[in-house]
Subunit: 468 residues, 3 copies
Amino acid sequence: MAWNTNLRWRLPLTCLLLQVAMVVLFGVFMRYDTDADVSWWREKAHRNITTDLENEFYYRYPSFQDVHVMVFMGFGFLMTFLQRYGFGGVGFNFLLAAFGIQWALLMQGWFHHLDPKGRYILLGIESLINADFCVASVCVAFGAVLGKVSPIQLLVMTLFQVTLFTVNEYILLDILEVKDAGGSMTIHTFGAYFGLTVTWILYRRNLEHSKQKQSSVYHSDLFAMIGTLFLWMYWPSFNSAISSHGDAQHRAAINTYCSLAASVLTSVALSSALNKKGKLDMVHIQNATLAGGVGVGTTAEMMLTPYGALIVGFFCGFISTLGFVFLTPFLESRLRIQDTCGIHNLHGIPGVLGGIAGAVTVVFADPDMYGPAGFSKKVRESRIQGKFQIYGLLLSLAMALVGGIMVGLILRLLFWGQPADENCFEDEVYWEVPEENRASHDPEDSTLKPPALLIPSGTPAFSQVLVA
Amino acid sequence: MAWNTNLRWRLPLTCLLLQVAMVVLFGVFMRYDTDADVSWWREKAHRNITTDLENEFYYRYPSFQDVHVMVFMGFGFLMTFLQRYGFGGVGFNFLLAAFGIQWALLMQGWFHHLDPKGRYILLGIESLINADFCVASVCVAFGAVLGKVSPIQLLVMTLFQVTLFTVNEYILLDILEVKDAGGSMTIHTFGAYFGLTVTWILYRRNLEHSKQKQSSVYHSDLFAMIGTLFLWMYWPSFNSAISSHGDAQHRAAINTYCSLAASVLTSVALSSALNKKGKLDMVHIQNATLAGGVGVGTTAEMMLTPYGALIVGFFCGFISTLGFVFLTPFLESRLRIQDTCGIHNLHGIPGVLGGIAGAVTVVFADPDMYGPAGFSKKVRESRIQGKFQIYGLLLSLAMALVGGIMVGLILRLLFWGQPADENCFEDEVYWEVPEENRASHDPEDSTLKPPALLIPSGTPAFSQVLVA
Amino acid sequence: MAWNTNLRWRLPLTCLLLQVAMVVLFGVFMRYDTDADVSWWREKAHRNITTDLENEFYYRYPSFQDVHVMVFMGFGFLMTFLQRYGFGGVGFNFLLAAFGIQWALLMQGWFHHLDPKGRYILLGIESLINADFCVASVCVAFGAVLGKVSPIQLLVMTLFQVTLFTVNEYILLDILEVKDAGGSMTIHTFGAYFGLTVTWILYRRNLEHSKQKQSSVYHSDLFAMIGTLFLWMYWPSFNSAISSHGDAQHRAAINTYCSLAASVLTSVALSSALNKKGKLDMVHIQNATLAGGVGVGTTAEMMLTPYGALIVGFFCGFISTLGFVFLTPFLESRLRIQDTCGIHNLHGIPGVLGGIAGAVTVVFADPDMYGPAGFSKKVRESRIQGKFQIYGLLLSLAMALVGGIMVGLILRLLFWGQPADENCFEDEVYWEVPEENRASHDPEDSTLKPPALLIPSGTPAFSQVLVA
């Protein structure tokens, strides 16, 4: 083995250092938002509110919980079982997300939730949603490098990606004043191309050896559906979570619901049409059915109209399935981009499509219709706002590429404890795997292909144990 | 194989045709409801509301999400693993539900959510709940035919059943003015008897050959519990989702909670009492424990009293367990009704009981107590309302039988790509099953019963792979 | 076998008797709360409220549903798969929780929700949350005895524990006026030490024989993560569910979110540092990551500050992981406490820490800051309130010990149908296990260790079937 993967001191030190840093930074900079502070009774008196329901908590909390489920459960399970790579999928997703939300609370708060005097970051329910959003983008990128990196590398990547995400989002939403409620550009496009760039830099020449551990397996595919369904069911909450109260939030949920429904049918159609015997491929059903949610991210809160939402979902499901069949093999063989979970098809292309759909929708919008609350903060003509939407999309791509190259180069350093090529997608490298499975490690077993589904060789990747 | 199960052109064309039709129909007929339209600020001014919380979205959205989870996750997992039939369970439930909600938005909207001029269907959060309700009824029927039909047949069945459901519901709720908040009659009774009639028409003489693939398996039963628990936990949201704001919705959740708790204990009691060694049967625990939710559907929002709810749950759990032990074998051997998931016991009988419970509760209700908001839209005497409740129940049964026969006959046509009797409950017919499992297809394997739990024969139905 | 485990008459009679008793008691004592009663329209008029949103239902229902998911899904799955003991984990958790909530509605209502005349218990959404809280405490204790008791024993334990819980909680919250929003003391400390005392009394000398069925298994660990993630994601709802409306509830959710995030990083750090090769142990990730939620239970709604929450989570994750490595083996070998799921590390120690954290936070609190609504019902000095917090903690421990001894002695009686030592952790004792698995019962199989992961012996505990 070329590199030392024993993390005994490095991982604990990294975790503790990061956690202590968080405690100190929180201590110095973080206070409760007025809505979460005991001084809320003064605020109520001051704003002349008679009911506690006007506390932001009641507007946002149910949506927040759904977003939380998507980030921790949806991504964890979809990605784990897609790859038959168990602890490393669920466990590392858990680790990076738990660190990521803390760092995101600081970074996002710094840009968006400072108190009037600029001394403290104010922590409220909206900060929690924003932190989860930010981490969703890291989870997307995680899908590209899954199984090929150490937990320390993941923590480093999270640190940088959260920072870059926040800067990018700040420029888009606050400087360019771009609309992107569900994050087609800021979350999905940025996350996907960042992850793809990192995995391109981290290209592994001899990954074919561990290829077999990575391909799709019957029952593992079934459990990935737990993740898919969570993402699919709660996506309307995701896209509407930070929309303005009232009609915008209501509309965002409806549009996402419609778009997601449409992409299920087109995914099924394409999956069957592209198979010689007309059979469906579970990988398409797990992924492309979600493309409608990504694609409608920017437009969800706009007056897209219900059939507009269906059209967006239609094309996203279509193109995402095509991507799995034609683009992923091409990316891997020609461009040397080893995209473990196929995030380019689920987040990359649909994210870009979503950004373009946003620009088009904005160009045809009637600013008057939006009433006194307005169409965007600055009163702009539709055509100009459309241009800015495209600038936002291009900037997200640029940030992802430049940032991805930088972070990729940092992650290529040799002391992060990364696994050798032949140990990728193996849980035994970083996890204490229970004894029963180690039995399968007996060298004699590897010759035992018959009678039926015995473990062919090597390591107890999740599915192999089950199939054994 | 008698029929051609290669769906390469038929399935894609069906899906795309349906999806394009949805886009066109949505484009022509569907607009946002005022609460989801940018004109909401005008509506607020007009209705003199100062807070966005009065937007229907905040009253309904959390419940809607729970219903959504039940339809897509609960039904998917309960039914899949009950049958050890993986992709075809979760995957096809996903497909039919995704198409069904779109068609239901149109059909339901046509009857319930037209704008004042009757030109457009108005789409709001309540429409989404109604669409999910409607599809729940299709999911119930799906449980009867699961594993024996092609995805095209499922789409056709969904098309017709959603239509019939809407007509039936319209007659019950709007013409007869029957109360049925949680859908004991409209969803469960109608869905179950519709599905049973369809499977009766589609009777398969030689199903015993694939019987062994269908019976209960240890760990598969465990995963079915994921579905059972989702249904059980979110049923209070289901029964209360469209109840009137305030006390009615509150009461509906409480009654359902109580009824469900009671049916757990009686299911356990009966399951143990009917077994020679007093052992529990997992199939009863998965199903009969939910019967209380079905049975309290009509009465949930009424002044049933908490102990009334317990009594309803008590009897439903009781009778549902009896049904699994005595009725299902009888239905199959004598009446030739091959009820794959035993929906007659979970939705059929408890649904009818629920309808009767509703009539009885109404007869003993005191209309004065309900205050100015009233007891039913038309002011009726309790006794007369009770009669109408029974008419509603009978009509639901009649619609299910007549509709089921019609749809069953349509589905018997030979070009839908249905599987041969010996291929029922096999995923390989319609799904690209990963290679590892195809190994098990080796004809020599079928002779290998020992050493332990190797795959006995034929196809890699989910559980067999695991058990292998 | 020493004892008769055939429950054919005993289990059904117990269940039916309990359920009938519930119906009668509900009939005599239970009525709807005003918010859930048709008289709500009078209440609205009387309290001069114009909107139904002021109905307690809308404040509490989303949180309640999350708590519900934790109790029925989180505990069920975490404990089941931790132990590779399937039906008995999920199924018995379901049974005891379904009975427990009914009995808790009565007991809790008796102490907390009587109508002004003291004749009836009023049932509303808050009662449902309290009942679920109470049952959570039973689920914790269940984790200590899991796999070693019969379902009848569990029902008896539930009956007594719910009663003792209610008395303890009443003394703490209403007499001592202790603050304990998320139940560090009332739920976790009490539940854990009660369960540990019971399992200490029920000490089984020859449990090593069934030891192998109990240890951790690769894929089973993965599914336990479903439970872990549900608990982790919904814990903010748990700790904030019954806090005062507005800022307190808002703050409770935020503090719990922060604390949980911190305990993930410290658990990972310690888990790696304590392993010779620096590998992570899945059992720590499943459990210690949740310790932050337990530890912040008392302080969640206080002005703990965000970094205070991080510090609490930091230490809880730390100590909980240490407990798994050093304390559990010691407890078992020296103190004869056979703690099946390691609840001492997840609920016991972090619960005590949480109680102490609460006392400390209170001592440093500024009562003036809390405004007219006040800091505690009685206006006390901070130092005195701190003392009372410690009294509450000590009382909870005392109640757990005394109650646990009493209930343990009752459960040692010989007619409860408990399993023999060598049949512990086996589902076949109480469940009709499907045929395929019974094949594994063939005595000849037990000699078949090779070729790979065949079932080594005895019974089809969940994981063994999968591994087979």
